[in-house]
Amino acid sequence: MSAAPDHTPTFAALSLSDRLEKAAPFLLVPVLVVLGFFAIGTTSSWLTLTVSGLAMGMMIFIMASGLTLVFGLMDVINFGHGAFISVGAYVGISVLLALSGWTGAPSLVLNILAVLLAVFAAIAVTGALGWGFERVIVRPVYGAHLKQILVTVGGLIVIEQLIQMVWGPEEIFLTRPEMLKGAVTFAGAAVEKYRLLAVVIGLILFVAMRMVLLRTKIGLIVRAGVANGEMVEALGYRLRIVFIGVFIAGSALAGLGGVMWGLYQEVITAGMGEEMMILVFIVVIIGGLGSVEGAFIGALLVGLLQNYLAFLEPKLALISNIALMAAILMWRPQGMLPVVKAK
């Protein structure tokens, strides 16, 4: 047996500036929260705005997480992702409206059951829609970015029109289930119950996604596939199947995000997904292509900054997302935690 020659390699320790450079993206959210505290001045307002910003960020993250993996795994630019948000919202809200007896009852159990049914219906329908979308619209245009943009935008428009055919062209107003209405008071601040729930759901999903990506073989394949899909295939894994699974999961998550966003806004429209796509793309880009952690940090930054600025300087809130993207990209042109380098 051949043994290697004597070889005792060591790593040089990273300097403080190198370590700070690596950790910087993870520090942005806490730093922004602290800055927000000093800028806003009153604890109650700061707490309300922070929870609101985190809730908004979590919902955007849920919608964006699948898209960033789809970008990274197969280099697919899917502008049709917004359609899953709208369809998820319409399906979920339809279930809630059909179960108005449960949502209107002052019973936590019935309220939660109604929301769970709505969420499962939205996930099932948008997951199935994602599978069909990948087969019919995305698969023929692998490797052709311009065609991907054209056909996925076309798919988005067609699905929006289908929503209007099925549910009508008018927006649908809704009210949240009884037990999710109102606010809880904490440290003098009124924090909406629904926003707290959105934060909890977002955190659970983020942790679950990290567990799957970091602790399972399929997660390992996805992470490796985002970095170097060609090599993953050369090892023997059918990356196309993995990609379809991620596409379906991403579509289902967008559907879940749609239901949550609909309940947050208490109104849904066929174009809501298309409108959300601007935020979703900003989050994917500033997070770094293919990075779930980057999308999470980016979504929280977008949510918090928008809420703080809407309170401090409402006119600035209109440009906060674009300004944030410009600042991040000037600092890190590939986004905060890129897994895939932009071409």
Partner: protein, 240 residues
Amino acid sequence: MSDPILTLSGVHTDIAQYHILEGVDLQVPRGGVTMLLGRNGVGKTTTLRTIIGHWKAKSGTISFDGSDITALPVPARARAGIGFVPEDMGIFGDLSVEENMVLAAVSGPLDPARLDWLFTVFPPLKTFWKSPAGTLSGGQKQMLSIARAMAEDRRLYLIDEPTKGLAPAIISTMAGALRELKRQGASILLVEQNFSVAKALGDTVAVMENGRIIWTGEMAQLATDAALQERLMGLSMEAH
């Protein structure tokens, strides 16, 4: 040649508008090391990438262990028993050494006995088991790349320039690992620019020029015939 493990017949491959392989005919014997030699840009890497399936053959056939694999997708070729070590090593830099190795065990968990053996062949892998692969040195990455291909039994290994840019001590480790594979009866198709390494490892040789195989034979013959080396590859004895 009796019962080769790999046969390429009239393989043509285009990359974009460029016609790179212009009818490659090649047989890789079962067991032993076949060196694929030639000047830069003659199509050696493209030949390996066409065999594993990263480039599609425009025409011709590729037969592996008696089965036509020309139309098979890349994962099916790998699962049929072909291990591939690309020129850029294909290391997953954000994953740890351990995760790179776990990923290489396609058919199930990593075999502990095989892992122990790989640690004796490539000791730095054990030292840096939990470290991100992207932080390894070039030589350590190359060790990981080859170890990953060796994580499971493969019948044929396609290895592209494993000693490129490495220090002599690391080259010695690589050569030792390949000898070990050869001793175990594996078939290896090895692209190598370092003729000293090629001489030390190779059993048979195929020389490429302009997208074709222009000479095949025994390494012993090529190694002792300076005029042949000069004619086929522009090598002179002073160069090695």
